[in-house]
Amino acid sequence: MTNIAEGKTPEDLLVLLKEAQDEEGYISEETMIELAETLDMSRSDVYGVATFYSFLSTRPQGRNIIRICKSLPCHLKNYESVAESIEKEIGIKPGQTTADRRFSFELTNCIGACDKAPAMLINDDVHGNLTPGKISQILEEYK
């Protein structure tokens, strides 16, 4: 196996972590150790970066990540009812992943879609003007 960080410097760490996550779905302990050694950084520094950003995960995640916005503009449009509908639909609470690894579900801060609140991201897609009734059909698209 070629080293993922060959020829790289500590400045590339964030990019490498994102690449690793794209590949494996999350950032494993082995990846972090390998990066630390190749980039000649301490393991804690690598771990520090990997756990700082909310879009990086050091735990295995579902194939599809639902991030529903919980910030004020979405709260005013009752995101809570949409979140409940998601919970019912996939049977998990925010912070959890379904047993079949189809979905991870998270509450997130403002995603910049307040003009179509309540809104959520599924992977990189924005879904806005949500109602509880729309959820099941939207989730259908994500296998």
């Binding site: 400045e11 760490l13 964030l14 950003y53 503009p73 910049g112 879609a113």
Partner: protein, 399 residues
Amino acid sequence: MPEKRIVLKNCGIVDPGNIDSYLEQDGFKALRKVRDELTPEQVIEELKTSGLRGRGGAGFPCGVKWEMAYQAPGDEKYAICNADEGEVGTFKDRYMLENDPFSLVEGLAIAALTIGAKQSYIYLRAEYHYLLDLLNQAIKQAGERGFLAGINIEVREGAGAYICGEESALMDSIEGKRGEVRPRPPFPPTQGLRAKPTIINNVETLMNIPPIIRNGGEWFSREGTERSKGTKVFSVSGDVTRPGVYELVLGSTLKELVVDLAGGENVKLVQIGGATGRIVPETMLDTELSFETILGAGAVTVFNRSRDVVDILYRTMEFLAEESCGKCSPCREGTAAMVTILEKFTRGQGEESDITVMEQLSSAMTLSSLCGLGQAAPNPVMDSLQHFRNAFEERIRVD
């Protein structure tokens, strides 16, 4: 004062995926003028004449920032566009990137040429990953037409962190680190990315550059107030019938924006500038929107009379506590302490002394935090206590 489209002029008119449609709207004429006719000093002079101030919230004079970086010694310099639009209630940069990415590329290219930056970055928040291809396409098309000779623009993506919209944290993030803020001085124009002279401008600031260069600084300075020239793009959301993006001449009133344009009814209060912004009661809707009064990055969230100010404040502080980078204790501990106190009020279990504690804590955080997050986090607390003190007093526990 009316709506006026300077920055949004091309939105809805150009095809964001096709540079030809941008060229038809005078696209890249400003960049050509900068290359063929103007010295860097003249560009900076035009910007100073224009009175353009940073649209990311801090309002620093753009010409002065560029001049500092231009004059800073060294060959290695950087120009960065801050597209990490994370302030709660803000989506204007998203709208502009979606509709007119070429204006941003042109503005950033002018910045790079002026200060002498060979490398430039657009730092795009992870939440806007869906805009990455569009931006890369715009850069590629501009390059293919020869507009970017000597300039290299790269889009760097964030990974989900509000604080990275703060310029020093943003630079740390580009350097591959945790996005934690740096003490200042030194300021970025002298020591920024990789400790080299760097300018960091908001998307909207950079999109103001091409029209200023085409029409002249004097033209730009005709609109606005004494110390706030030109227009501002606002993101309006919450209890309004027409949420969206509006561009108004600076000095327009909050009422024009919130009631006349966005259709706010039964307004109780407006939060301007997001989580660290100001809270303005309905009685002050005639307030002017300008750097002299209130502006921020242009996030405007409207709350009607059915909303509870304690709940609004609690949620705002929860957000800030979550997004504090943790580097300095006034912010890390201060926001957490505020959440603890406010949570008591949401349950009707506040104490008389809590109000005093919040006031003292606010002043300590403002004075001693490292960056704008901690310094401005008390804004909504102080404003709420000033305008809606009753709402807190009613929630004090009766033994």
